[in-house]
Assembly symmetry: C2
Homo-oligomer: 485 residues x 2
């Protein structure tokens, strides 16, 4: 089947229900399907949207194209959770059904206002010449999930940006509303974060110019401003960033920048950090969305999937997933990302992870390991019975300490042109703490209490459910099977 | 919208995907939606089908009409569970897509044979004059969920039955295959259970006549033969049964008959029981399916919903649910139905149920109560803040002991023409043990270790989440909140 433009932008009402039912069943039955991460009911999932707290529950939405593993006409699918771990899929919530989002209800954010959840998102419109127009749309969702869209755009793209102007994050500060957006400067074609302010949520919205950060690449997508331990932190996706600024291996990186202060009205960002830092040192994290929750914490959730990439499940008609939600904190100016407490409620069947024989851990698993200082070896995850193929974690905890995660022998190749391995350096001669989550086709590796996270998809043949530690390594460990969410 | 015959039998491929997405979202968001019981993704759910153990997991299917709360073109939706409590919906499995089931893949059963799950079900076909033809169809489902149908019917209706000939249950005994089916005798227009035998699963299937039970009403639906503690037990739905035989209040009852022995080759059923007994003393149980599992136990699961009835969620485009799975045993010739062990894994937030004030229990709850002998009073469940409206359990545990469950003041009326209350008598001057499950719009009340079960739907206004015991009653109790499955 060829995914022509016409096909990708066919209205949902022109697709037949039987095709959708078959796609949903195919996705549910996939060997690679996630069981405790947010995943698409069918088709393609991309950016997290509207991550918020409302009506006594956590809310998140995903960018959805329900009819195949391609980027087509997008809508928002809504999920709700009591604990940031157990999510219930409530179905399509924001449909591309008006003049302001005729070619897609694109990414955006949400904020509880009164007894409604206010949504602000990018309406994607293509004109008859297929020229893109981006409108920043407002909508109110009530407690029953009814969405009422505001008929006029909250923000139209100003003259100083190109048509690449999207992904509004809505913020409240000192009784006023602010929004930040990813923007491409019209003159320089470089990436920025635009800042807007409004007295009332419906506007008028005033253009305050760009946030005071260096221009990055040719575009910045999905900007977030979140306060972590009192410091402003920007999390964003610079496209085309010079690797001399900060090195990265993925097609596009997801990065963060910690500041000392942020002036909402001038956009001035005071920072000691010289360059952005990779949010995740793995293979597939993008479009992360973070917010300051009423419980006083900052949380982040990511799309595990990258623009312009393909994945082995594409041929099953579904693609991608979310990361688990992570709690943010700061340590020495560095962002820590930790699993939320409720992740422990998934645990069952605790076992020691010990010895150097092959262990049957299944593929829905948590592993905690403390590898002692001065060691060198390899931990193989999602291994076959011979213990040969799998995800390889090569570690050194002595001098020149490092960790390399190689998924090159784990199964079907995943975008190998961007490299099969990712490496980080570790503090020398220190114990290494690893907390590892496996969910059928996803690994999330938390290093030293979340100082680094290495996330990636893998697509192993059936039966690769073992783990093996190389001989002679001194370590302690335990593992759990994890329940479905 | 009018549900014309044409509309109800429209092929799934003629429905549009947007309609289906909206129906799915509407069902997921319903206040009345079940959270730890099997429920339809959209539209109407009816009979459990194919309840079995295969591929290391429990299997069940539901009769599905996805496009509204009406009986239309039916398919099977597949669910799988590791523990009989946590079910994962795998989507449509048996579609009405061949000459033998063109007007519906109707009810049937399943049996693991080799590395396939063999399905035997009734293919519903209407000819150009809308005359019904019933074929008993065979199909093999592989471990990936691919279904291959056998092109010729396994069994065609014999001359001695009318077009009402359906719901095959497949059984294995002494190296041969047997099937029992609900049948209407052509001459007497009375209800029977037909018995068939085959050496090979694909046939030929030999008509062994009717099982040696009295004719019951004008039709018997959904017959099951299950061995409980070594005794043969028939579970079935007689339609039009004379209430003098066994009294019942629902439009159609679901009943059982315990025997001493069953001769598979003659159909002779040796029994001391004089008349069938109601399987459930409540309002809405029908089409129960039971089977002997490899773990040595017999389990049953029911449709909570009745033919020809309407329910308040019809206007939300979805209807009905399954009961929880119950384990069967026998005591003094009487069937006991008990929650399975894994139901305990749903528990959290244990609280004493004590005092006679209003208790906030929520609507996803388990309650265990021991009411002492010689008491009389009322327990109100799903009560409002005044403790006035709700599901009323009136009990007497002294002389003339009885329990009456009245849902008449619990909220929206549910088929009130069949009465709002159900009563049973209890052993006199004995303590009464109740184990009660609430799931938003469903109650399941297990009495004295499952000697009786009273199941029903209720549709209370939002906020009716309290429970109250009338003053002066001597009892002990505790409660739990229950997690989503």
């Amino acid at each position: 089947m060829e995914w022509t433009r016409e096909k990708r932008y066919l209205p949902y009402s022109k697709w037949d229900a039987l095709t959708l039912l078959k796609l949903q069943s195919q996705a549910a039955r996939s060997e690679y399907q996630l069981h405790y991460h947010i995943r698409p009911m069918s088709g393609l999932l991309n950016d997290p949207n509207g991550f918020s707290y409302f009506n006594g529950k956590w809310q998140v939405f995903y960018q959805s194209y329900p009819f195949g593993a391609v980027h087509g006409l997008k809508s928002w699918v809504h999920l709700e959770s009591p604990d940031l771990v157990h999510w219930q899929n409530l179905g399509q919530a924001v449909l591309p059904d008006c003049d302001l989002d005729s070619h897609g209800a694109y990414s955006g954010s949400a904020k509880a206002i009164g007894d409604k959840l206010f949504l602000m998102y990018t309406g994607n419109v293509r004109d008859e010449n297929w020229v893109r127009h981006s409108y920043q749309v407002g909508a109110f969702m009530d407690q029953e999930g009814n969405v009422e869209k505001i008929k006029e755009p909250l923000i139209k793209a100003p003259d100083h940006v190109t048509e690449h102007f999207r992904d509004p994050q809505i913020l409240e500060h000192d009784g006023k509303y602010y929004a930040i957006l990813g923007a491409q400067d019209a003159e320089t074609k470089s990436g920025h974060i635009s800042l807007y302010r409004a007295e009332k949520i419906e506007g008028p919205w005033e253009d305050l110019g760009y946030v005071d950060l260096p221009a990055m690449g040719y575009m910045v997508e999905c900007p977030n401003l979140v306060f972590v331990d009192g410091k402003p932190v920007f999390i964003f996706c610079p496209q085309g960033l010079d690797k001399k600024v900060t090195d990265y291996q993925n097609v596009y990186p997801n990065m963060y920048w910690v500041g000392e202060s942020f002036d909402f009205d001038t956009g001035h960002f005071e920072t000691k950090q010289k360059a952005p830092i990779n949010l995740d040192e793995g293979f597939d994290v993008y479009a992360s969305q973070a917010f300051n929750a009423p419980d006083g914490n900052a949380y982040v959730v990511s799309w595990v999937g990258l623009p312009d990439m393909t994945y082995p499940t594409d041929e099953e008609g579904w693609a991608n997933c979310f990361s688990q939600v992570k709690k943010l904190s700061l340590k020495h100016g560095h962002l820590l990302q930790k699993p939320v407490k409720a992740m422990k409620s998934l645990r069952s069947d605790k076992k020691p992870f010990a010895g150097h024989h092959l262990m049957d851990l299944g593929n829905q698993t948590e592993i905690k390991l403390d590898i002692h200082r001065g060691q060198e070896g390899t931990l193989t995850l999602a291994a076959d019975e011979a213990g040969e193929h799998g995800i390889k974690l090569h570690f050194k905890t002595g001098n020149g300490a490092s960790l390399t995660v190689d998924r090159g022998e784990a199964g079907e190749a995943v975008n190998p042109e961007y490299g099969t391995a990712r490496s980080i350096s570790l503090p020398e001669n220190e114990d290494l703490s690893l907390r590892i989550y496996l969910d059928h086709s996803l690994f999330e590796i938390f290093i030293d209490g979340g100082r680094e996270v290495i996330t990636g998809r893998y697509f192993a043949p059936k039966g690769q459910i073992f783990a093996k530690m190389s001989k002679g390594v001194s370590y302690k460990g335990k593992s759990w099977k994890l329940k479905n969410m």
